[in-house]
Each structure stands twice: as structure tokens, then as C-alpha cells.
Symmetry: C2
Subunit: 406 residues, 2 copies
């Protein structure tokens, strides 16, 4: 019998090999040895185990480089699945991806608003169950779910450290509870970090770029990926760009800081300004009770894109302020690319992209060393949920449940 | 003969082993194999080569864990040396460190002010030569010099990308030219990054902390170290905290951005305010021509510490604004520690430390996940120069000049 640490190391090796096969699409054992730094006998054994468990299949022969043409390997994409869940007050997106990371199914629904956790989570779980059933994915093939939401979080414990949307959520063990309900492993992560990972996964950014993601939903978050690694910091609560101060004379924010970017550029601020701008709110049919930032903000964004001057001015005002934060982010993280992701860029993304790119190119400190580009997400509102599913695929869960060799 | 790539890999392996021996102080071959992941035969061979070249020596036997007590290895500290140079308009610090990273000698002199590069660099080179001679370090034992200065830089090319202090410096190949003058390899790096590395080297921060360094000399820079790695970003021009905007209504800065932190909190801003504050500038004997920010700022800082109310108010004003940047840095990089380093914290450091720590603990986004401490540098003005020497020691230069095995 393999001992504990050896078994763990074997599982890790399997995870590494699995991720290399996924990244390469088709690959030979010889190439796997070269890419992993593992010895050919180790590769042979690990591939045999992965094949025995149905995760990897042989798909013909490659080109000979002298001797016998090598057998090519591929993931058996339908062998396992993962679930990604974007969880927000005003939007939830659930996606199912196969082992190769291809999108298999998607659903979205209005978020859980002000529901307390013990009512909100069963609602989310029921949608996940329904989606899996609808596409006929067997439960024992689901590796787990990546639950992505706003911060701050205790990512290891799967706990939210915020009183958003209500005080009951502060310290609530959201991942363990959802795991209980779904009877699946659930990983918690930051929505912006997941969106950045999702964009990378979808091939939207070059492999070697240092890129930031500005993620705007009800609030504004961020993430940075450098050399393929998500910047995590001390507790995975990094790049919270919505709560940096851009105005030393600004008002106190609920977060404890003053003059926070989110209070100038975020959907909530834009909606407040719309109610203070003549009859704009009434004309657009905004909800005076302010129950749904995302929906009301989308109405303003759509009016701006359609040419309504008052709405356009508000979106530009938001973009100009967001640009201050984008310059700070580019200057501190020395970025060469910023991706605008999340549901609140879905409609007026081009207005934000043009204005932020202009400012970033004028004002970022390292612009003499290299250009800084700003682009829109390729996956729109779904980047974060896709990233959640990818986190599960990359986590090693795919190999943890395999029996250990004798 | 070893081929190119194999020779490079051998040199890299030697560098890894050398750095492990340095970090451990004394270590056995068995421990080296365990810590490096290299095989025992590889360790035996690499150690033999390092001993043949006099870089490593045997220093007796360790404790037996069953069999023969293992022979312990140590660096031969006097086998090689490195030079660290902090280069600033108003201060230059030169230090010499031995192979083990211990400080062997130090000198400092007033910076090169507005001298053009072709006059400034010979001055720096002559001081380095004089210091090496004074302490009797033979030239063929000097690995190289780490030149650290402000940004932006093209670190690979060894070129400054700034028109500070005069236009002639923009694009000037400062590292290649100094290398020519000294007949030594010269590595260019950012002063704040070097200071952060220096603090780590001196044991001022815990190994696993995610810490930021705010570096204040004439200007304000920064660096972040996470999991022992300096955050570099796209072009090593990261964490330029002096040029993030803290005031959306602020004036345009020479850097291209608006409302830059440095223009509220930096020595230049404090000196300008002193001239606008009654007779303070005259009382303290500040230079009306403004030739030396560091000296004038030190006078104001000393008066503040001595209890001069007007001077104290200016330093507090600077600290309050710097705190805004510190909170942004802690929120974006999810820091658990901020180190205040550089010559401009030497006198009034405690005022800055107290005020910035208070603000950071109140306002940083992730403070519910973990505390954020603020401490003063252990090495005062020398952190950056020490970091420059450390960069050389860790660069692999120590093993590059060894002949390759047949």
C-alpha cells in the first residue's frame, strides 16, 4: 500500500498530467514527459491509471520523428464534469463544463436578492440539480462546483466575510452548506479572479501577458494574472479595486475606506445619479425602490448606447472615474492588458473600453516601457461562472477520487 | 564538452545549490538533496565543483541520524563579493557584501545632482573603486554590481526610461556604461524592489508574509513580495505608488497622471508647503533654490520630531496622504505587512508608522480576513543598496564564471 504522502504525491502527479493533456488537446507520452519533467516510466504508469479510470483515451498515431509513430492521447471529455456558479444578489449563472473544459450547459436566473442564506442556497442548489438533470449528466461524474462571489472571503473555509447583501451572510459557511445540499465538493473563490481565469481559459489573452480584469456586476472587483498565475496575496482578497480611494475629499464608504471608486463609477452610483438627473429615471422606468442594480443599470446603459444624451453622460461619468482606478491598477501591477468583464459591461462595454483605454495609455506610469491595451471580455456575463468550473477542473478533484494503486 | 543548454542548466543548478547553502548557513549534502529535489549524485557532483572553485567549504560533522554523521557544508564567504549601489540625485550609497551576504563595507556620498550621465557615472565608479580598495577586496573576486534607482526602467537593457533628473537620462544606458567603467557586470533594478529584497534578506519580515515596501527618498516608490517572490508585472515597473491618483480634482503631474500621491505626500510637496507656512522655511534654514530635497526634508522631519508644531503638522499631512496610498496598496495586493524604507523615513519614521498603521487597520478591504501591520525598515537608508548587492548574489553570476566540466 502506498503511504499517505506518497498517495498524495501520486494524485498530484496525475493532476499535473491530466492538466497537460487538457492544455495540449492531443499529445504523445514522449511529449508529456518532455513537458512535465517526469520520467517516461512515470508517464507510462500515470497514463495507464488515467486510462483505466476512463479519463484519458488513445486517439490514433502522430507523426513519426524517426521510429514508430507515437500514440496520441486525449482527455475523454465526457468522463467527468464540473459546475461553475456565479452567485450575486441580482444574478446567478450556472454552467456545466466537461473534463476538457467545454461548455455543456448554461442557465441563469435572477439572484437571491435579500433572501437569508438558508433560503437562498437551496434555491441555487435546486437550479444546479435541474441543469444537470436537463443535460443528462450523471451525478457520480460531477467532480464538484466552483462557487464564485464577491469578497472579502475566507477562501479556505468557504466563508463570506461581508455583510452584503444582509448581516446574516457575514461569516456564513456558504461553501460547506452548498456542498451539503449538492452532496458535491464546493470551492469558493472571488468572482473577479474567476472571471480572469475564465478569460484566460477561453484564450482571450496571450499566455505571457500580465493582465488585469475589472469585473463589474452590482459592485466593482478586480483580479490580476501574471505569468499564468492569479495574484492571490495574503488571503486571496486581492485587487478589490472598487474600494480604493480616488477622492481624498470623498465620503466614508460602508467598507471603512473613504472616496471609494465604486461610489463614483459603480452601477449603484450611476442609478443614484439617474434619479437626480431631470426625468431620466422616470423615462427609463427605473425602480424607485432600487431592488435590482443590474437591471436598472442595464436600462441606463442601453439608453446611453441608443444615444440618449443624459444617459450617455452618466455612463461616461462612470467610465471616467473607473479609468482612474484602471490607471492605478495598471501602474501598481504593471499591466499590459486590462479585460473588462462581468454583466455590467455587457451593454455599454464599448463606451467604457474606448474611454478607459484612452486614459490608461495617457497616464499609466510604465507606458514608456510598453503599451497598455483595454479589451472587452469574450464571454460577457459568463466569464466568472466559466472560471468557477475551470477552478474545479484544475483543482485536482478529477484525480483525488481515483483509488490508489497497491 | 557540454553543449550550450546543458552548460546553462549546470550553471543554474550550481546557482540553486549555492543559494540553498547560503540560506541554510550550514547544511549537509543529504539535506541539500531533500531541499532542492535534486538527486544525491547530482548534489555530490555540484558540491565537488563548488568546492574545487573555493566557493564552498566543509566545516565539520553534523548530528548522526543513525549512520555516519554527515559532513556539513558552508559558503566560503570571502571567496566572492558583490557591490550594491543606490543611485539618486541627492544620495548615493555603495555597499560591499561577501558571498554569504554579510555587509563588508559601506560608504555614502551626496548624489550626482544635475550632472549629466557622462559626468555622474565616472563619479559613482570612482567611489566604488575606492571602497573596494579601502577594504582590500581583489577585483577578480567581485561578481558584479547591483545598481538600484527609480523608474520607469528597461531592466533587461539597463536603461532608465525617465527624464529625471534631466532630459539626458531618458533612454541612457546607465547599466552598460557603468559596467564599462567598472569592468564588472552591472544589473539594474528598481530601488523600492531592492529595498524590499534587502529587508527580506535582513530577516525583517516573516518568510511567508505578503508584504509591501513603501520606499521614500526624493520621490515615493513601492514593491511587493509575495511567497518570497518580488512581484514584477509586465516589465518590472510595478508598484509605482507615488504616481497613483488620490485626488480626482488634482493637478496634472509630470508623469502624465493627475492628483498623484507624490505631489501630496512626497518630500518635494512637504518642502513647498514649508515655504508657504509662515517663517518655517527660514527658521529651519531650507534652501530657497531647492537643490536637495532629501536634506531639506530631513530638516523638516527633525523639527517635527523635536516638537515644532508647524513642522509636525506638515509631516502629519504627508503621512495622512501617504496612508491613502498605503490603503490602496494593501487593498489591491492583499498585504499583511507594510515596511517603510528609504532615507526619507529615517528621521520621522515613527510619525509615519503610527498614522499609516492606524489608517490601514481601519480602511483596508481585507482587514476582516487578517490584520495589516506597518513597520519601519530595519536598515534605514541602506535597504535599497543592500538589496542591490543581494540581487547580484542571487543572480547566478557566482557560478557563471566557473569553467564548464568536460
Amino acid at each position: 500500500m502506498a503511504s499517505g504522502p506518497v498517495a498524495a504525491s501520486r494524485s498530484k502527479t496525475r493532476g499535473v498530467v491530466l492538466n497537460l493533456i487538457r492544455a495540449a488537446h492531443t499529445v504523445s507520452r514522449v511529449e508529456l514527459a518532455a513537458n512535465s519533467g517526469l520520467t517516461p516510466p512515470t508517464i507510462t504508469q500515470v497514463v495507464r491509471e488515467l486510462m483505466e479510470h476512463g479519463l484519458v483515451v488513445e486517439v490514433g498515431r502522430g507523426t513519426s520523428t524517426g521510429g514508430k509513430p507515437p500514440t496520441l492521447l486525449q482527455l475523454n471529455a465526457q468522463a467527468r464534469y464540473s459546475v461553475g456558479i456565479l452567485f450575486e444578489r441580482n444574478i446567478c449563472v450556472v454552467i456545466v463544463a466537461d473534463l476538457a473544459g467545454h461548455l455543456v450547459a448554461r442557465t441563469s436566473f435572477h439572484g437571491t436578492e435579500l433572501l437569508p442564506p438558508d433560503q437562498a442556497l437551496p434555491l441555487v442548489a435546486s437550479r444546479v440539480e435541474a441543469l444537470l438533470e436537463a443535460v443528462g449528466v450523471e451525478r457520480d461524474k460531477v467532480l464538484g462546483a466552483g462557487l464564485v462571489s464577491y469578497g472579502p472571503q475566507d477562501r479556505q473555509a468557504g466563508v463570506l466575510l461581508t455583510h452584503q447583501p444582509t448581516a446574516e451572510w457575514l461569516g456564513y459557511p456558504i461553501a460547506p452548506k452548498l456542498s451539503e445540499l449538492l452532496d458535491l465538493p464546493v470551492l469558493l473563490d472571488n468572482d473577479a479572479a474567476a472571471a480572469a481565469i475564465g478569460e484566460y481559459w477561453l484564450g482571450a489573452v496571450e499566455q505571457n501577458s500580465t493582465y488585469g480584469c475589472i469585473y463589474m456586476a452590482s459592485g466593482i472587483g478586480g483580479a490580476v494574472v501574471s505569468e499564468g498565475q492569479t495574484y492571490r496575496g495574503s488571503s486571496s482578497n486581492s485587487v478589490e479595486i472598487g474600494h480604493i480611494s480616488i477622492d481624498l475629499a470623498g465620503a466614508e464608504c460602508g467598507c471603512g475606506n473613504r472616496g471609494c471608486l465604486e461610489n463614483y463609477a459603480g452601477p449603484g452610483a450611476v442609478i443614484r445619479q439617474a434619479f437626480a438627473t431631470g426625468d431620466l429615471a422616470r423615462r427609463l422606468g427605473l425602480d424607485p425602490l432600487g431592488n435590482d442594480y443590474l437591471a436598472d443599470f442595464a436600462l441606463i446603459a442601453a439608453a446611453a448606447v441608443a444615444g440618449d444624451p443624459a444617459a450617455h453622460e452618466l455612463i461616461e461619468h462612470s467610465a471616467r472615474h473607473l479609468a482612474i482606478g484602471a490607471v492605478t491598477m495598471a501602474t501598481l501591477f504593471d499591466l499590459d492588458l486590462i479585460v473588462l468583464a462581468g454583466p455590467s459591461f455587457a451593454t455599454a462595454g464599448p463606451i467604457y473600453q474606448t474611454l478607459i483605454e484612452h486614459e490608461v495609455q495617457q497616464r499609466t506610469f510604465a507606458r514608456r516601457a510598453h503599451p497598455v491595451r483595454v479589451v472587452q471580455s469574450v464571454s460577457g456575463s459568463d466569464a466568472a461562472a466559466i472560471g468557477g468550473a475551470v477552478l474545479v477542473l484544475k483543482s485536482g478533484l478529477a484525480t483525488l477520487d481515483l483509488p490508489q494503486p497497491d
